[in-house]
């Protein structure tokens, strides 16, 4: 029997295995903990938290699409205070590895959130969701431009202090994702999360109106996997030393392996958890089998393997 070192690293932090949940797809963790112990995850990435509590969007908030779905939740959440008071202590009690995702509407808000997090123990990293509409700049999302992306990352870096790894989560809806990656790496991030959802729309052909209350929504699921693989491959090619948390349509060990071969150091499970609450555990065991089958003793040897020896 082969043994496998399944651990992975992002910045200074080590994770027992590379299977994470994706932000916004595991709620606060409590709902999934009914189906498996959260300690089995490499890490749980919390839903993006904002400074204040948010009601989010009206319904319908989702539309199924071929091998995918649109969502438009509008970042509903309790706000950082309630989050730190309720969610984090519970997760810490479960001994879960925690990555906190933060989101803001202004650069300042990201700074405020980071300051709140610096004193909190039990957190392994902060994921900066910069795919939010920038209210200061025509409502375009921060992740769309290098300068706004950098402004956010610098605010986080300045305020978070210590050695908590910073992961910038990028949007695929850009002309050149490598350019954005370069900018945030330059601004000092320890890792990247690729990819957030693609902007999409479904029109209800009965009502003849956009199906979602928010009109557009984020496309996720297996449909977008080829886009995720391409983005990860391009960015890993340009920056082979920057760890990438890969995500986008992963529903099996084979899918996770594909993202890892492209360059991901860890893989987040999002929409697949909606189809099956056990998805992350399934992916984890299938991936471990596949790695052993392919002769890997150390998971990290597989990262970016598709780039080598061609």
């Amino acid at each position: 029997m082969s043994t496998l070192d399944f651990s992975t690293k992002i910045g200074s932090k080590r994770f027992s295995n590379p299977i994470f949940t994706a932000s916004g797809c595991a709620s606060s963790g409590q709902e999934l903990s009914q189906f498996f112990p959260l300690t089995e995850l490499g890490a749980i990435v919390t839903k993006s938290i904002m400074t204040k509590s948010r009601t989010g969007r009206l319904t319908p908030r989702m539309a199924e699409t071929p091998s995918g779905m649109l969502n438009s939740i509008g970042l509903q959440g309790p706000g950082i205070d309630a989050f730190l008071e309720n969610d984090i202590p519970w997760l810490v009690e479960q001994k879960a590895k925690i990555i906190v995702s933060i989101a803001g509407e202004t650069v300042d808000e990201y700074g405020v959130l980071s300051r709140r997090l610096r004193a909190v123990s039990g957190i392994s990293a902060v994921e900066v969701n910069i795919s939010c509409p920038n209210v200061e700049n025509r409502g375009q999302v921060f992740a769309c431009h290098p300068d706004t992306s950098v402004a956010v990352i610098e605010a986080v870096r300045r305020n978070i202090g210590g050695e908590l790894p910073i992961i910038a989560k990028l949007s695929p809806d850009v002309t050149d994702i490598v350019e954005i990656a370069a900018a945030v790496i330059n601004a000092g991030v320890d890792g990247l999360a690729l990819i957030n959802t693609l902007l999409g729309m479904v029109i209800d052909t009965n009502s003849m109106r956009p199906k979602l209350a928010g009109k557009t929504g984020g496309l996720s699921g297996p449909a977008i996997r080829p886009v995720a693989v391409r983005a990860i491959y391009q960015v890993h090619q340009a920056f082979p030393n920057t760890p990438i948390v890969g995500m986008g349509g992963v529903a099996s060990g084979r899918d996770a392996f594909e993202l890892i071969l492209a360059g991901a150091s860890a893989v987040s499970i999002g929409t697949a958890s909606f189809g099956s609450p056990n998805a992350a555990m399934l992916v984890k065991s299938q991936l471990s089998d596949l790695l052993i089958e392919r002769g890997f003793n150390d998971f990290r040897d597989a990262i970016g393997f598709a780039h080598r020896g061609l």
Binding site: R61, E64, I73, Q76, F274, G275, N278
Partner: protein
Amino acid sequence: MIPHKINKAAKQILAEVISNKKFGPYHHIVFAVGDMAASIKPGNFVAISVGGEQSSLILRRAFAIYRAIDKGPMGGSIELVVAPHGQGSSWLCARAIGEFVDLIGPLGTSFGIPTSNANAMLIGGGYGSAPLFALAELLKNRGCRVDMVLGASTANKIFAPLEGKRTVSSLTLTTDDGSAGIHGQISEAIPRLIRELGTEVIYSCGPMGMLSAIAKIAKEFDIAHQCSVEESMACGIGVCMTCVVPIRSEENVKMVRTCIDGPVMDGSQIIWDRKEVSDLMGL
């Protein structure tokens, strides 16, 4: 700090189809679910994967549990009443006996039972009547008077099986086209019936428009109203936040998940008017 409403009994299983019969425009489908049957309460639902292995349909579909039988000849079983509506429900209706489906249940909240005897009115629209029959039995066993009102657009869309009818004290039918029972929308018939029957608590299940109309009536009469709502659900287990309804809270509006805080909810808490919600949210 686990939200107290998570249904702790939920399990993911492969459930065998042991019967699948057409019943008017619906399919009455029975699944072998073993132990799960014992943990089911009236109002709970299940979430089923659809489309098979190569499916482009990646999300589960939610179905109210019509009946759960703890120890039948095939062990525990549950029964659903399914309208072949779109791709997923049509796929489910096409399952043959002996096939297995991936099913999670029981999910969600169940109907609350009055602590003392009460005159209960159970109102169901279309297949929305399905979960009301198990509730009727439970209420009757607790000594409540149970009046049932079932409506639909047309006669054959009323789901009212014989066995179910036996448990109720009175049964009133309504159809939009007058093809059976009272001619008109179900909500039009309710006020008179409440007065005549001395209704003290209303249970309802059906389309959102119907529930909203009933909520208004319940408010006017100042009687309790538990309704089972139906919002689009991506996950059914509380992780996606797509299935919310707006309820009143101190601040203004709170969006709660109908898969965890529902599907059975207090009708008076829900803000039924979209315009009111938008205004409260400052949209």
